[in-house]
């Protein structure tokens, strides 16, 4: 029962409702009852929730309502040409040139001219523009969209469902083992401030195996407000590696939600690497829906100036015999702030659960800050769960040892920072990808790689 709730709304909170009202009839799928119904429900949920603020426990360290004062208009995709050089500039040359099936989304628009749709199709993967799919959703999408580990209490996600204009829908067929990663490149545009709402829906069917790399970069749009969501359903005995590399412009807001559901005996390895944006929220909701599966969600963030990066994970062990691992490493300089919140819920009956999480930060300045909050909610008795958190500065003893061998101080510091991040990067199995992330770390540090 929905009671009319009279509540105060900030200007930005109201602006999203206005944005929806204005855009509603022109959004993709406006004439499809399934899609328009989904959007109406989502905007209703948002209206009740409002923007999250610090008294909402999951947003304790990231007061979105206070920080988001202006809402930008929805982006208008103009189909402008994007050169290889611009891609390299936006993502970093090593990431841009990863050997992969490329899918390029610019201003929310899947660009067939820049994407390898034919290659994917012959490899057994159905890839379509979400905007197009929403106009007349295929059956599999109707059974998936907004239904993978769904959340009713998340306003950012609700806004995404209400206002999504693009992204991709990807179905990796039963037993399909991809020979190279799918690289989903998500760029902004150029020019005036805009909001981009994208959603990706990915289904990895039984026994399939794939690596999905999502990279985010900027072509130069000012004050981008990005809200990106990916739903990923991993079927029984399927294995998905999911890597995110985010280097949006340093004035951007980057709000990201991953919704992940694992079937039985499945495997999921995620890695999130962030150096960009002014405010980043990386939230991952993962649930184990089938027994005997394993998930690893790890990552690294390197921040400076007044950058803020919040990683919030919720892992739900709903069934027995699943394993989850989390390892996040942050390097914080200037007045940067890193946040790690990791929650593990073990349902009654989810026996033989094995869950561990670890977060660590290296503070390079007196004014950098790291907040870490682990939470375990365990309702089963035969489980192994643990967490740990560290935060500290560069060890002077280690530094002196390196300097005493002739390595100049700045280089010695860089080496120690790379070593710190390296412990997390080790989680990335794909060698080309791991090296590309190593390069990205070195870029951030301003050092060349040997």
């Amino acid at each position: 029962m929905d009671l009319p709730v009279q509540q105060f709304r900030t200007k930005a909170e109201q602006a999203y409702l206005d944005l929806f009202e204005t855009a509603e009839d022109a959004l993709p799928g406006a004439r499809d009852p399934f899609v328009s119904g989904l959007r109406a429900k989502a905007i209703g949920a948002y209206g009740r929730l409002g923007l999250p603020h610090r008294r909402v426990e999951a947003w304790k360290y990231t007061d979105l309502r206070a920080r988001l004062t202006e809402v930008n208009p929805l982006v208008k995709a103009d189909g402008a040409a994007v050169s290889e050089a611009e891609l390299g500039q936006a993502l970093g040359a090593e990431i841009a040139s990863l050997p992969a099936y490329r899918l390029v989304v610019v201003e929310g628009d899947l660009r067939a001219d820049l994407s390898d749709l034919a290659g994917l199709k012959s490899a057994g993967v159905e890839a379509v523009s979400l905007a197009r799919a929403l106009e007349k959703p295929p059956v599999w999408l109707k059974r998936t969209l907004a239904q993978v580990n769904p959340r009713a209490d998340d306003a950012v996600l609700a806004l995404n469902a209400a206002l999504m204009t693009g992204g991709i829908a990807l179905r990796i067929g039963e037993g399909v083992i991809l020979d190279k990663p799918v690289h989903l490149i998500q760029l902004d545009g150029v020019g005036d401030p805009a909001s981009i709402f994208t959603r990706n829906v990915v289904v990895a069917e039984t026994g399939s195996a794939a690596t999905l790399v999502e990279s985010f970069g900027s072509l130069g749009l000012r004050l981008l407000q990005r809200n990106a969501a990916t739903e990923l359903r991993i079927g029984a005995k399927a294995a998905v590696k999911h890597v995110k590399v985010q280097r949006d412009r340093d004035d951007a807001f980057h709000l990201s939600t991953w919704l992940v559901e694992l079937g039985a005996d499945a495997r999921y390895d995620a890695f999130q690497f962030s150096t960009g944006a002014s405010l980043t929220r990386n939230q991952v909701y993962l649930c184990f829906a089938g027994e005997g599966s394993a998930a690893d969600i790890s990552g690294a963030f390197l921040l400076r100036a007044r950058q803020h990066c919040d990683t919030t994970l919720l892992v739900e062990h709903r069934v027995p015999r699943c394993t989850s691992r989390e390892l996040f490493k942050g390097v914080l300089d200037g007045e940067a702030r890193g946040v790690f919140q990791g929650k593990i819920i073990v349902s009654p009956g989810a026996q033989k659960t094995d869950g561990k999480q670890m977060a660590g930060a290296l503070l390079l300045s007196e004014t950098a800050e790291f907040d870490s909050k682990p939470e375990l909610e365990i309702f089963a008795d035969d489980v192994v769960c643990g967490h740990g958190s560290t935060s500290g500065q560069i060890d002077e003893e280690l530094l002196f040892y390196l300097e005493a061998r002739g390595i100049p101080e700045s280089q010695a510091r860089a080496l120690l920072i790379q070593a710190f991040v390296g412990e997390a990067l080790e989680k990335v199995e794909d060698e080309a990808l791991r090296e590309a992330l190593g390069h990205a770390s070195a870029d951030w540090l301003g050092v060349r790689v040997e």
């Binding site: 040892y401 005493a404 002739g406 100049p408 280089q411 790379q418």
Partner: protein, 249 residues
């Protein structure tokens, strides 16, 4: 020539070296002995440039250059090498990467071309073999999980690779059994040369049976209380440090 004149050093506000004078000519090996707390390790760290050690008076020059004015890495470029008593473990840095970074940093600072990968590997393999260091050990993170003996051998390997002109060995014998000590001592002796000076710091005479010094200095209360030939070490072995313990010189 290493010339230390009237060196006073404070650590945490406490004076540890108290007017130390020492002269070490190139081509010679001198031993520094002394009871615990006499300032042996402090001397080693001050030569290498550890920041917490505050020099309040005196001078240290190596080949006429003022060491005290240099950053730790600049001292290494000038030829100073400290073999640490407790080598540091650095997870996340492969030993080989570290060795290569150090060798090339020094070569670059000295205006020499960096070594190519195959040349470097050949260079390391040859030196490592002489010290009975397995190639597998070099793939591991620096000193992580190394035994005491492996850590000390790794120090000598670095010394062999960096080819310093002033070697300071801080209690390199501590924690070593007799076989490990022999390997380490052979490694050190192989580096003795007319171009190179060595300062061997040790608490026990034992190491000096293998690395025979030209001169022995005994520290007490932060200064040199006695200097002489190798026989001084043998006398100390007989009489112990009682004579030097806590006695204000």
């Amino acid at each position: 020539m290493l010339e230390i004149k009237n060196l006073h050093v404070n650590v945490d506000g406490r004076e540890i070296l108290n007017g130390l004078d020492l002269t070490l000519p190139q081509g010679e090996v001198h031993a520094i002995m002394g009871p615990n707390g006499s300032g042996k390790s402090t001397l080693a760290y001050v030569l290498a440039g550890k920041r917490e050690y505050e020099v309040t008076a005196g001078s240290v020059t190596w080949k006429g250059e003022d060491l005290l004015a240099m950053e730790p890495s600049e001292r290494a470029v000038a030829g100073v090498f400290l073999a640490f008593q407790y080598p540091i473990e650095i997870p996340g840095v492969a030993t080989m990467t570290f060795l290569r970074t150090a060798v090339n940093a020094l070569r670059k600072a000295r205006g020499e071309a960096e070594l190519s990968t195959p040349d470097f590997l050949r260079f390391v393999r040859e030196k490592a073999q002489a010290l009975k260091i397995e190639p597998e050990m070099l793939k591991r993170p620096l000193n992580v999980g190394f035994s005491g003996g492996e850590k000390k051998r790794n120090e000598i390997l670095q010394m062999a690779l960096l080819e310093p002109s002033l070697c300071v060995l801080d209690e390199t014998d501590s924690g070593l059994d007799i076989d490990a000590m022999r390997i380490v001592a052979e490694g050190v002796n192989a580096l003795r040369s007319p171009e190179r000076a060595m300062l061997v710091i040790t608490h026990y005479q034992r190491l000096l049976n293998y690395i025979v010094p030209d001169r022995v200095h005994v520290l007490s209360d932060g200064r040199v209380a006695r200097s002489g030939g190798p026989e001084v070490a043998l006398e100390l072995e007989e009489s112990g440090y009682t004579e030097f313990d806590g006695k204000a010189a």
